[in-house]
Amino acid sequence: MRTAAELKLGEKAIIKDIDNTHPSSHRILEIGFTPGQEIVLLTKSIFNDPIGLSIRGTIFAIRKNEASCIII
């Protein structure tokens, strides 16, 4: 099982599911990370964390820890 935290720079993926045991999962769903959507890892910050994911035409900076609840 891969998660969005393991994406390579520039890699595309389709969201399979969101792990709702993670405390941030609800907010992540609400901002549009829903199953079936395409995400792209566009940028990484220094130290590779947080990462910048594109979703529905917007870029979100998300900590890797939180991105790990996005299952791809």
Binding site: P23, G52, T58, I59, A61
Partner: protein, 679 residues
């Protein structure tokens, strides 16, 4: 919940929207910027309220609520915003809710719209950012969207004001149609479930496909070509909705978030920000200082050396001056921060800072408040409200007083000038920078230590989270930025002003009484010199000096005496008061442009009574600098810290912890230097 429209209650329109959806621009347009900023009772959540501008001839209040992502709150502040939307403690239930929706991010923003409609609000949807949508060769049918959602939908171009007329018309119609007895359903629990949420999004995606359509770029070519039409159809069928971020933004991010260039740009932006705060503000600050000393001497001429004259010039005007002197820095800081935020860079800055800051228990979102702390802790502490995690927010508030605020500069300038040889002023610049770097590192160390003991100190635990939209880069909208700068500046004056003025008057009482009319040797002295000598004599025999003598045993280990103690007491109004009270205590009679030279001379000559030892030595002066780096001397900061954390625990701990650190480190510095033979 129901409410009735009585004759004396005018309708309430609440503006709701996600961050970056053009909500504030619309609010400014409708309110004409004549708004009041008020706190929700008992909280730090703020809203702006205004009557709709007279020229629009709608008699209604408009309320700008804080940006929310959904009706299901994820932090305490969000919960207050959401609860107040359903029933505002002062204004009740809104008759109309206007939701701003960024058309280029339709699906994400429609989610909130759907929640609002489901909660049974009387919703008007305002579509913004149509220019961005058109860049992607797409357009949106507001008629279709309105049909599907069952509410009014209006397109607005906030830059040109196009569409505002339609909006005003629908507001008017809605007000007359409103059935205010309609019930709201605040129980949004249904949306709390993942399945329900996913269903909402599925529905939204279908809506999106129906209302968005391909629009050919307007190149004036109306020539019909069967191939072109086919192409369009293909595009429509395989509609890949606008899910690609702005191209230019992606290109710029390649630099601003680059591992090497990103850091260079980050530090460059920070240096430019700081340099502008100090360099642009300093002539203005001098102007304000000059103006107040002019007013002060004016009042002395007017009222003479009387109790009342002294109260005005040394108490009130001094206090007012201390408040206003920082206004230029605060204005410039918020102007630059506003420009950076509106352009989109600040979100990247927070992203870059998140990892290092999270290692010591802070958040990327702590970065901007900490930055503001270098101008003044008061607006900085207020700026922590954007941090949703309470633990991180309190920790940020905790360490902000350690950021070297501008009130410390005059003190450092004086003390550094004492330490360095007069013919080498450049060493002073290096020394000042060293003090800044030292204070940054110390604050980070203290933050990590506090973080280790957070269960005892911060006492809040929350899910640590950093989810931040990186908005597309754009040219900042100057009017919005200026508006926001103005708002922050008035907040500073309102919140810090009264505290500083009361304290100044209180300290003036301490330094003026009980010997209000001291006797001095007047022979052969000018009137000005006599009055200055009287001032000095008065303070030497004042309550403040008695207090100073009481704390003298505490000052002794630092190699200082009661006179410095009195000046340190005076700094509780504002740190920079240290310089002027030293001048008073050391009977500096030479007021004017070379006051610093006179103080420096007096400092070099000053001896500790009884022992005859020199008072200001390299060791004791360095110790004093260290003291100023850490000590929590500013009572306005204490007051704002109390207000923002909702209890006395954090501010009291700040006073205890920072003052002990200041004292102990200062003592260690003095003894250490003396041990190595540096006196």
């Amino acid at each position: 919940m129901t409410s009735t429209l009585t004759e004396n209650k005018i309708p309430l329109i609440t503006l709701v929207g996600q961050p970056n959806s053009g909500k504030t621009t619309l609010f400014n347009y409708l309110s004409g910027k004549n708004y009041k900023t008020v706190n929700y009772p008992g909280s730090t959540v703020e809203y702006s309220i205004s009557k709709i501008l007279g020229k629009f001839s709608i008699n209604a209040n408009i309320l700008d609520s804080p940006g929310i992502i959904s009706l299901i709150p994820s932090s305490a502040d969000e919960k207050i915003s959401v609860d107040s939307l359903f029933s505002h403690p002062k204004f009740g239930k809104p008759e109309i809710v206007i939701v701003t929706v960024d058309s280029s991010q339709l699906s994400r923003h429609l989610y909130l719209v759907k929640q609002l409609i489901d909660a049974n609000f009387n919703v008007i949807v305002v579509l913004t950012m149509l220019d961005i949508l058109r860049k992607k060769n797409l357009d949106i049918s507001e008629i279709k969207l309105s049909e599907i959602l069952g509410c009014k939908v209006i397109k607005i171009d906030s830059r040109s004001g196009k569409g505002i007329k339609d909006l005003l018309l629908s507001i008017k119609n809605s007000i007359s149609e409103t059935n205010i007895n309609e019930e709201l359903f605040p129980e949004m629990n249904i949306h709390n479930q993942k399945e329900k949420l996913l269903e909402s999004y599925r529905h939204i995606e279908e809506i999106e496909k129906e209302v968005l359509f391909y629009k050919e770029p307007e190149n004036g070519n109306n020539h019909f070509d069967i191939n072109e039409v086919n192409k369009k159809l293909i595009v429509l069928n395989s509609i890949r909705l606008p899910n690609k971020p702005d191209n230019l933004t992606l290109k710029i991010d390649k630099f601003t978030l680059h591992k090497f260039w990103g850091i260079i740009i980050f530090f460059l932006v920070m240096s430019v920000t700081f340099t502008s705060i100090f360099w642009l503000a300093s002539p203005l600050m001098n102007l304000i200082n000059d103006m107040f000393s002019l007013l002060s001497s004016g009042s002395e001429v007017l009222f003479g050396d009387t109790l009342f004259g002294n109260l005005i010039s040394n108490g009130l005007l001094n206090g007012l001056g201390s408040v206003l002197v920082f206004l230029p820095q605060i204005l410039i800081l918020f102007l630059i921060l506003g420009l950076l935020e509106d352009s989109g860079y600040l979100a990247r800055g927070a992203m870059l800072a998140d990892k290092p800051l999270s290692m010591i228990g802070l958040n990327g979102k702590s970065f901007v408040p900490m930055l503001s702390g270098f101008a003044c802790a008061i607006p900085a502490i207020m700026a922590t409200r954007t941090i949703s995690n309470k633990r991180e927010r309190f920790l940020t508030i905790f360490i902000i007083p350690l950021m070297s605020c501008s009130a410390r500069i005059p003190v450092y300038v004086l003390l550094v000038a004492f330490l360095i040889p007069q013919d080498k002023p450049w060493i002073g610049g290096i020394a000042l920078s060293a003090i800044y770097i030292f204070s940054i590192f110390s604050s980070l160390i203290i933050a990590s230590v506090v973080n280790k003991f957070q269960e005892k100190i911060i006492k809040e635990s929350d899910n640590s989270s950093f989810i931040l939209e990186l908005p597309a880069y754009r040219k900042p909208k100057l009017s919005d930025v200026l508006n926001n700068t103005f708002k922050n500046a008035t907040q500073y004056i309102k919140k810090a002003g009264p505290v500083i003025i009361y304290l100044s008057v209180f300290l003036w009482i301490l330094t003026y009484f009980p010997n209000t009319n001291p006797q001095v040797n007047e022979s052969g002295k000018s009137e000005k010199e006599i009055s200055e000598l009287k001032n000095s004599e008065r303070i030497m025999t004042s309550y403040a000096s008695s207090l100073g003598k009481i704390i003298e045993p505490v000052m002794k280990p630092l190699g200082l005496d009661w006179r410095v103690g009195v000046s340190l007491i005076a700094t509780f109004a504002a740190r920079e008061v240290f310089v002027s009270s030293l001048a008073l205590i050391f009977k500096i009679t030479d007021e004017g442009d070379n006051i610093q030279t006179s103080i420096l001379k007096a400092m070099k000559d000053a001896q500790i009574e009884n022992t005859g030892e020199k008072l200001f030595t390299t060791a004791t002066t360095t110790g004093l600098i260290i003291f100023f780096v850490f000590a929590m001397q500013c009572l306005s900061t204490v007051a704002i810290s109390r207000k923002e954390t909702g209890s006395w625990r954090i501010p009291v701990l700040q006073i205890l912890v920072f003052s002990s650190i200041a004292y102990v480190l200062s003592f260690l510095t003095v003894s250490g230097l003396r041990f190595f033979g540096i006196n």
